[in-house]
Structures are given as structure tokens and as C-alpha cells.
């Protein structure tokens, strides 16, 4: 099965390369999964192609998420997990973004289901999706400062409340 899927994905990569030689900057094969790294400026075109092409038919955007590789650069990797229901195939598109300019084209025009997924990435990683119809925070409060899933955000958060021990001693004195 693993062999079969890698054959399929080779077809996908070939198909994308045949369409535009600059569409694919890197292909990563790991544990039977194919990751196609796409330059930022052609992401929406590649996504459109993946969905519309007769031989690709990636009609379902299953998931979208981000990985923060701080302190490495380019720091962010935005992943899109595509599923082709008719062809029973999966593909991961990846875009790499630097910390100084974390902006990428939104895929809402291609898959409307990307709406909340991209809002979640914006909320937790601070990545801007240009062309998104409604880019607001979704899980954190509107007035939250910072992006909690970034690696430089501490797990326990920034607390302004003194610990119980210090409060206790302060009351005593």
C-alpha cells in the first residue's frame, strides 16, 4: 500500500511540474506521506490546480496547520492536508514563511472550508492570510496579546498575578 501511494504521489508531483516548473520547490517523502513544498507566491494557483485538475481532484481540504521552527529561519511552515475523495489519495502542501513577513495568500477562494482553519492559525501563530474574508481571532479572546502557539510564548503564559507563596508572605508582613 505504501508503494502504491508513493506511485500515486509521484503522478501528482509530475502533474504539477508539467503544469509549471516553478510550482514545486521541494518534495519530501517520509513514512509514505508526500509533502510538496510550494513557493509562497504560487500557493493559490497550485491549490486551484490540485482541486480542479481532472487527474488530481483534491476536492476536500482536510486540515491546515502551522509549525513554528523558532529559532530557525524560515520560521513558519504552513501545511495544508488535501484529500481526494474520488482517487483516495492524500497530499500535503507546505509553504515556508519567515518571521519578518508571515503573510501568505488565503485559500478560502479555493476551499471555503479553509476559513476557520486559517483563522485558527492567525489566532495562534499570528500568520496573516491576504484575501481572507474575516480574519479575526477565533479561540483566544479578542483583546489577547501575543500568539500562544509560537515557540517564544511560554507554556504557562505571561502571568501578572503573583504566586500564592508571595501573596501569602506579603499579607503576613
Amino acid at each position: 500500500m505504501a508503494e502504491n501511494s508513493s506511485q500515486n504521489t509521484n503522478v501528482v508531483v509530475e502533474r504539477l511540474r508539467a503544469w509549471s516548473p516553478t510550482a514545486v520547490s521541494e518534495v519530501i517523502e517520509f513514512r509514505g506521506e508526500t509533502t510538496v513544498v510550494v513557493p509562497r507566491n504560487v500557493l493559490r494557483d497550485v491549490a486551484e490546480r490540485c482541486r480542479g485538475d481532472k487527474e488530481l481532484q483534491f476536492n476536500l481540504l482536510s486540515d491546515s496547520t502551522c509549525v513554528d521552527r523558532y529559532p530557525l529561519e524560515p520560521r513558519f511552515e504552513v501545511n495544508y492536508h488535501l484529500v481526494s475523495i474520488p482517487r483516495r489519495d492524500r497530499l500535503r502542501l507546505q509553504v515556508r514563511l519567515s518571521s519578518s513577513d508571515p503573510v501568505v495568500d488565503s485559500l478560502v477562494p479555493v476551499w471555503p472550508g479553509a476559513n476557520w482553519l486559517e483563522r485558527e492559525i492567525f489566532d495562534l501563530f499570528g500568520i496573516r492570510f491576504s484575501g481572507h474574508p474575516d480574519l479575526r481571532r477565533i479561540l483566544m479572546p479578542d483583546d489577547w496579546e501575543g500568539y500562544p502557539l509560537r515557540k517564544d510564548f511560554p507554556v504557562e503564559g505571561y502571568r501578572d498575578i503573583p504566586s500564592i507563596a508571595t501573596r501569602y508572605t506579603r499579607n503576613r508582613t
Partner: protein, 404 residues
């Protein structure tokens, strides 16, 4: 958060009318948790709906990054609290993929058995609460009677009723207690008659049909475009089920159907879920035959899977591995893995990225209720406010999973 134009004017049959903004939730019994919806109403008709969530956001994905791979299993239980075994399975499959280890057949069959029991129990909670939302009180009591039986089986096998953490990386936490198959068999014998009982109460019920038929329609194209999965997509006629499309945990050896409907309304989704319960029983019966009476429930992977207790008493290496697993954990090779299972709500995917350290670089849960909830405005805009309740119920959201 506010609706940008607080109120607007809409054309009605009698002329121009002002709309009203109604805040529904987060403390509302029929939102199944802490979901808030801002409804812009024209009389009883919904003009616009904006779901607002995050009230239950506990940062589980961030917490996972601060734990070792095995420690994070306990957190996965708490995402979708009606499907803890399914969450365990998805997470463990992703880590196993990352590590490149195989699970013994016996453990795979027991996993299937447990996950299908979990699917029935989750559908029972859904059916009971959905019926209560729509005014059918008694179904709830019947459903929870059977769910209790499933929870008793879980307690017997895993030691816990809800937060099981039973499925572990490389297999199962422990050998199931002796006599568990007899208990499952008793349940499987009883259950078909009980499902008939629910159907007697609801399927032909005129009030039920009136509240659900034709309510919350979504076309198959829209459902796919909005990334919907699970029973909501199958009720629209798309037979997409991870167990068939991308078989995992030996599902390809089981013979079962994927129930679909074409009406794609609340009633269709109800019928799909009831049919799914019967299919799950079919899978459980096959799994009971397939599970060999003896055999390992954990794979041999030194340094990753804890060794047997007996080995630790006689072998030096086993003792060292045990100590290392529980102090510093294990380090998968750098890379990324995505594993998806069919949860009762849809495609539950887990994305794990490793940088070669004992703690995951990133764990992401593709939460089916979060993504299915996205279609809620599409289902209810232009419809009556009473249908909002039916539509929230029919998506089968678990707010713990929506907010994570």
C-alpha cells in the same frame, strides 16, 4: 465580538422591518456546552448567524509540546470527551507512523473492538441529547441506559469509564481482563433490540419528523467545499469514510457498509447515525471472532514500548529501558506524520511534527466538530429560530473538541 452593523433593515412581506440581535449561549442547554451564537433575527427568521467559541480553550496543543510523547496521551482523552479511545488511537497511530513501528494484530483487533464500542456510546449520547433538545424526553433515558453498559465494559477492560488512556504507543496499556469478551457478547446480543426501541420511539414519530425532515439541508458540493466529514457528509450522499477510504488498524479485513442517504437534512443524519450503530455492532461481532485468545498486546520496540514487568525482574536491559522511557522518553526521527481515523463525528486527524527531541515539536488535532461547525451558518440562515436547535444538535459537536 459584535455584529458590525448592530441592526439592519430587511425587506419583509409587509414592508421594511428592523432586525434584532439575539445572543444565544454560551450558557444554553441546547448548545451542548459553551457555544455562543450571535443571531440576527427578523421576527422568527434567522438573517445572519455568527458562531463564537473559545470558552473552553485549554491550550491542549500547547501543553502537548511540553510533555513527552507518552505523557501527551492523557491529554488526548480530554479533547473529545465522548470519544477518548478514538482520540488515543489517532494520536498513537500518528506517533507510531513517525517511529515506523507496527502493532501486533491482536492489539489492532482489540483497538477496533474498543473504538467501535466507543462509537456506539458516542452516538447514544448524541441521540439522547438531540432528542431532548427537540422535546422527546424519554429517548434520553433509554440511550443512557445502554451507554452505561458500554462504560461498564470500558471500566472492566481499561480500568476507567471515560478518560481511558488505554491505547498506547505500540499497542495497549494492558491485557484486557479475563472474561471481557463475554461481557461484550452480552451487550452485542442485547443492543439490536434496543436500537429498534429507539427507532420505534422516533423514526415514525410525527413530531420528530416534523422537527427534522427538510431542516438543515446542505448539498453535497457545499458540504465538501466546507470540509465537512462524517455522518453529516454521508447523509449528503458522499460515501467518504476513513475506515474504507484509508483503512487503518486492520479495518480492511472487516466486512461492513458505509450507510449513506441523499436527503441531507436532520432526519437523514439521524438515520445515518442509527445505521452506523448497527454497522458498528457488525464490526464488533467480527472483531470478537478475530481476536486470538493469546498473544502480545504490545509490540517489541526496546526503548519505546515499556517492557514486561516479568522481564524487568530478570533482565538488566529491560530495567534500563523502563527507566529511560519514563524519565526522558524516546526520540523519534525528525519528520512529520499525519494519521486520520473515523471518529463518530468525522475525520479525526492528528498531525505530529518531531525535531528529534523527546518532546513533540507540534501536535495538531484536526477536530471534526470544529470544522463541521463551520457549516452551521449555512444550515440555519434564512430558517426559523427553532431550527437552530435542531441544526446544532445534528452536527453533533463536542465543545471540548471545538475549542481544544
Amino acid at each position: 465580538m459584535t455584529i458590525q452593523s448592530e441592526t439592519s433593515t430587511v425587506e419583509t412581506a409587509t414592508g421594511k422591518a428592523k432586525t434584532m440581535v439575539l445572543n444565544m449561549g454560551p450558557q444554553h442547554p441546547s448548545t451542548h456546552g459553551v457555544l455562543r451564537i450571535l443571531l440576527e433575527l427578523d421576527g422568527e427568521n434567522v438573517v445572519k448567524a455568527i458562531p463564537d467559541m473559545g470558552y473552553l480553550h485549554t491550550g491542549i496543543e500547547k501543553s502537548c509540546e511540553d510533555k513527552t510523547y507518552s505523557q501527551a496521551i492523557t491529554l488526548t482523552d480530554r479533547i473529545d470527551y465522548l470519544n477518548p479511545l478514538g482520540n488515543n488511537l489517532a494520536y498513537c497511530m500518528a506517533v507510531e507512523k513517525l517511529l515506523g513501528i507496527e502493532v501486533p494484530k491482536r492489539a489492532q483487533y482489540i483497538r477496533v473492538l474498543m473504538v467501535e464500542l466507543q462509537r456506539i456510546s458516542s452516538h447514544l449520547v448524541w441521540l439522547g441529547t438531540h432528542a431532548i433538545d427537540l422535546g422527546a424526553m424519554s429517548v434520553f433515558l433509554y440511550c443512557f441506559r445502554e451507554r452505561e453498559e458500554i462504560l461498564k465494559i470500558f471500566e472492566f477492560v481499561t480500568g476507567q469509564r471515560m478518560m481511558t488512556s488505554y491505547i498506547r504507543i505500540g499497542g495497549l496499556a494492558l491485557e484486557p481482563a479475563t472474561g471481557y469478551l463475554q461481557r461484550v457478547e452480552k451487550f452485542v446480543k442485547m443492543m439490536p433490540g434496543r436500537i429498534d426501541e429507539y427507532e420505534e420511539l422516533l423514526t415514525g414519530n410525527r413530531i420528530w419528523i416534523g422537527r427534522t425532515k427538510g431542516v438543515g439541508y446542505i448539498s453535497a458540493e457545499d458540504a465538501i467545499a466546507l470540509s465537512m466529514t462524517g455522518p453529516t457528509l454521508r447523509a449528503a450522499g458522499v460515501a467518504y469514510d476513513n475506515r474504507k477510504a484509508f483503512p487503518y488498524s486492520s479495518y480492511e479485513e472487516f466486512d461492513f457498509d458505509v450507510p449513506t442517504r441523499t436527503d441531507s437534512d436532520c432526519f437523514g443524519r439521524y438515520m445515518v447515525r442509527v445505521a452506523e450503530m448497527r454497522e458498528s455492532l457488525k464490526i464488533i461481532r467480527q472483531a470478537m471472532k478475530k481476536i486470538p485468545p493469546e498473544g502480545p498486546v504490545r509490540t517489541e520496540a526496546p526503548g519505546i514500548v515499556p517492557p514486561d514487568r516479568e522481564k524487568m525482574k530478570t533482565e538488566m536491559e529491560a530495567l534500563i529501558y523502563h527507566f529511560k522511557i519514563f524519565t526522558e522518553g524516546f526520540s523519534p526521527p525528525p519528520g512529520e506524520a499525519f494519521a486520520a481515523v473515523e471518529s463518530p463525528r468525522g475525520e479525526l486527524g492528528v498531525f505530529v511534527a518531531s525535531d528529534g527531541s523527546p518532546k513533540p515539536l507540534r501536535v495538531h488535532f484536526r477536530a471534526p466538530s470544529f470544522i463541521n461547525l463551520q457549516a452551521l451558518p449555512k444550515l440555519i440562515e434564512g430558517k426559523l429560530i427553532a431550527d437552530v436547535i435542531a441544526c446544532i444538535g445534528t452536527i453533533d459537536i463536542v465543545l471540548g473538541e471545538v475549542d481544544r
